[in-house]
């Protein structure tokens, strides 16, 4: 498929932006200045100032004389980059491949996109009228090559849409400046009387190279399509991406839901066809006021089920603020994985932790309460009670070792252990009674001690002497005392859990 490119020239980028912010500036001459060698030079002006004769490069004082009442603004470096980046993001509605073309333009790879607006001419018209509605004056050029589109956008009188293969004819009447050449080269060409590309385009390559250097050949051939030129897109295009641009902006929830559902349906069909499943996705919606917001979801297993993915988004749709209306939805599949074989699942009998149903349930729950709040524990080979089980995020991970049940552990564990006042009749014996939360418990029978030490290779610290104690009512507690061997140490008691 032959490539098609659009180059958009923002002719009055800075002044247009200022006029959008202050409506009163529209009918006045406006210029932007930058300090240079101790004086202010005009670097950009609007159409009114241009008619008065203001040109880039003249001093601000001169501009004041030529155009009485001119509004001068100081330019901040990098302002055009920021503006163009914003415009490039806005232009993502036309094509996913947009590149900022400094200092005053954008480049769009529109291959295969133009039919969406009903043809190339309509595509350009739509672009111009929409940007004019925003307040920007642009000149777009469309051609098979980046160079030619650039040239037409900036230098052609008419014929902004170059038909496929017509680069040579389109370039012929244009000045050499349309070839993106350096100033010194342009002066040289001008001195030699080459006022049009047609006057030197037929010269042999070797002659041109000897006279004007390799760069000129490169630019000329790039514009003609005989040398390759690449576009570096602003955003890395996502391989699985779907978009819906709406003729009428939507504000109500059923319409938004329907748009999202359609998008997911399209994406899932594509993924299904390629045997893939979705793991994480981002939904971007662009409002007509130029702002865009994102909703993100993630799944626990590769999924291609529209209903499931829609449900995950549905939980977040409350956050969507449509404002004056949403005109564009983009769904990007950030992460895909080969989908599991469903056929095998059918015969498994009872579902396991990694089965699709459970994974979908966990997706729903994670979307509401957050993934960090879902825990699954695997045994760890530690005696220290707090370390005997470790949290894992993976649902498919199987325990590396068996769960131990040779030591009785309490069903409920207090974390951290709480201090109690205990009284033991003899050292190294279980306490006879203890007070916990102002309640006295008389211990009638106890098991222990079970001494558990800190593992010296992981952490320093003493040991704990654990007792399982039963009180008069039949409640069973897990108590422990701290070391008391060294002189000066007194045994402190803690309650660490409740047995069944």
């Amino acid at each position: 498929m032959p490539k098609r490119f659009v180059s958009i020239w923002f002719r009055y980028l800075l002044t247009d932006r200022e006029a959008i912010r202050q409506k009163s500036l529209r009918d006045l001459p406006v210029a932007f200045t930058e300090p240079d060698h101790g004086r202010l030079l005009v670097i950009a002006m609007n159409v009114n100032a241009e008619q008065c004769g203001v040109k880039p490069g003249i001093a601000a004082a001169d501009a004041r004389v030529i155009a009485p009442g001119i509004q001068l603004f100081e330019n901040k470096p990098g302002r055009n980059v920021k503006l163009l980046k914003g415009m490039a993001e806005w232009c993502l509605r036309y094509t996913p491949l947009v590149m900022v073309d400094l200092p005053d333009g954008l480049l769009l790879d529109v291959t295969g996109c133009t039919h969406l607006k009903g043809g190339e001419t309509e595509y350009l018209k739509d672009m111009v009228s929409r940007l004019r509605a925003l307040g920007y004056t642009i000149r777009p050029g469309m051609a098979d090559t980046i160079g030619c589109a650039w040239a037409v956008a900036r230098c052609a009188e008419n014929g902004l849409n170059v038909p496929p293969g017509g680069q040579r004819n389109a370039l012929m009447p244009l000045p050499p400046a349309s070839l993106r050449l350096g100033t010194d080269l342009l002066i040289k060409l001008n001195q030699l009387g080459f006022y049009q590309v047609s006057s030197f385009i037929h010269l042999p390559k070797s002659v041109l190279k000897r006279r004007f250097g390799g760069n000129m050949i490169l630019r000329l051939y790039q514009a003609l399509g005989q040398e390759a030129e690449f576009l570096l897109p602003l955003k890395e295009p996502v391989p699985y991406s779907e978009r819906i641009s709406l003729l009428e902006p939507v504000t109500i929830r059923p319409a938004i839901e329907r748009a999202v559902h359609t998008l997911i349906d399209q994406l899932c069909k594509r993924l299904y066809g390629e045997g893939l499943g979705l793991r994480s996705a981002v939904l971007t919606y662009c409002r007509i006021d130029g702002k865009s917001y994102q909703l993100a979801i993630g799944t626990n297993h590769p999924s291609q089920r529209t209903d499931h993915i829609f449900k995950l988004f549905e939980l977040q749709l409350d956050q969507v603020a449509p404002g004056l209306g949403i005109e564009l939805f983009i769904l990007d599949a950030l992460k895909t994985e080969p989908a599991s074989d469903k056929q095998s699942m059918l015969w498994n009998g009872k579902p396991t932790a990694d089965s699709e149903q459970v994974a979908e349930l966990l997706d729903n729950i994670a979307a509401r309460v957050g993934n960090v709040n879902i825990h699954r524990y695997l045994p760890k080979e530690h005696h220290w009670p707090e370390r005997a089980a470790a949290n894992t995020a993976d649902l498919t991970e199987i325990p590396a070792s068996e769960w131990r049940d040779d030591h009785i552990r309490p069903t409920q564990l207090l974390d951290p252990p709480e201090p109690i006042e205990a009284m033991a009749l003899t050292p190294d014996y279980a306490p006879r009674q203890f007070v916990y939360r102002n309640q006295r418990h008389i211990i009638v029978s106890a098991d222990g001690p079970e001494r558990i030490s800190h593992e010296w290779w992981t952490e320093d610290g003493g040991y704990r002497d654990y007792y399982m104690a039963e009180d008069e009512e039949g409640m069973r507690y897990w108590l422990f005392g701290t070391p008391n061997e060294l002189p000066g140490q007194t045994r402190r008691w803690f309650i660490h859990g409740y047995f069944a």
């Binding site: 459970v358 699954r376 769960w403 069944a500």
Partner: protein
């Protein structure tokens, strides 16, 4: 004539139970929970799976007993594979301890929600998913309407749900199939033996739909429930060293 009348009433009762959601299980599918005489309290002499069970706890010690009792029942539910979901707001369950009650803790997915009101939302979602073996929900509040919602979810999916109500001030009506309390009791060893014996609970079935409430003493011994009937101690008191 008398006999036929009784038969008819019996049949009508069976029909009624069917309409109320109790499905008589085919003989092969009956699961043995090892609850012994307690199972006789339920309709069809079967522990109702695919229904909601409410457990009332007023003290953290009771919660520990209830959790262990539920784990003992889950041992059977998880026997054929599957996972269970444990939803709680403030969880104190110590997973490794559940192994003693026959449950592999890695088969349980714990969901610790940050907001209390999310507990019931998550529970309902989990109960709707028929790929789950059981759902345990620790909550403080449960209104009749909320319990009805959960019951409706269960009727669709046939998942067994256990609602542990902690710090209950007063018992309210609920749509659950059974209401239990489990309290720890003094354990009994052979006379003269020092130490603490097997976990022993007093299990009260306060309310059961189409069944007979009752009270039993239960012990967890050798990885199964044993109903304890108090017998006169015939063994002579003996002191062990």
């Amino acid at each position: 004539m008398e006999a036929t009348k009784e038969e008819m009433i019996d049949r009508l009762r069976q029909d009624l139970m069917g309409w109320e959601g109790f499905r008589p299980l085919p003989p092969g599918e009956r699961q043995e929970f090892g609850l012994g005489v307690i199972e006789n309290a339920f309709p069809n002499q079967t522990f109702p799976t695919g229904a909601l069970h409410e457990f009332i706890s007023t003290r953290p010690e009771f919660t520990a007993a209830i959790s262990s009792f539920i784990a003992g029942i889950m041992q059977t539910l998880l026997a054929g594979g599957g996972v269970c979901v444990w939803v709680s707001y403030t969880r104190r369950i110590y997973p490794p301890a559940l192994k003693r009650f026959g449950v592999n803790p890695d088969r349980i997915i714990f969901i610790d929600v940050q907001r209390e009101k999310d507990v019931l939302w998550v529970t309902e979602e989990a109960l709707k998913c028929n790929g789950i073996a059981a759902v345990i929900c620790e909550t403080r509040l449960l209104s009749f309407m909320e319990s009805r919602r959960l019951q409706l979810a269960v009727e669709q999916s046939h998942v067994t749900g256990f609602i542990v109500r902690k710090d209950v001030k007063h018992i309210t009506t609920s749509a659950c199939a059974a209401r239990w309390t489990v309290k720890p009791l003094r354990s009994k060893l052979r006379p003269g033996m020092p130490g603490v014996g097997h976990p022993r609970w007093q299990v009260d079935l306060l309310k059961v739909r189409n069944g007979h409430p009752g009270s039993w003493t239960l012990e967890w011994k050798n990885k199964q429930f044993t109903v304890v009937t108090e017998q006169v101690q015939t063994e002579k008191m003996q002191r062990y060293a």
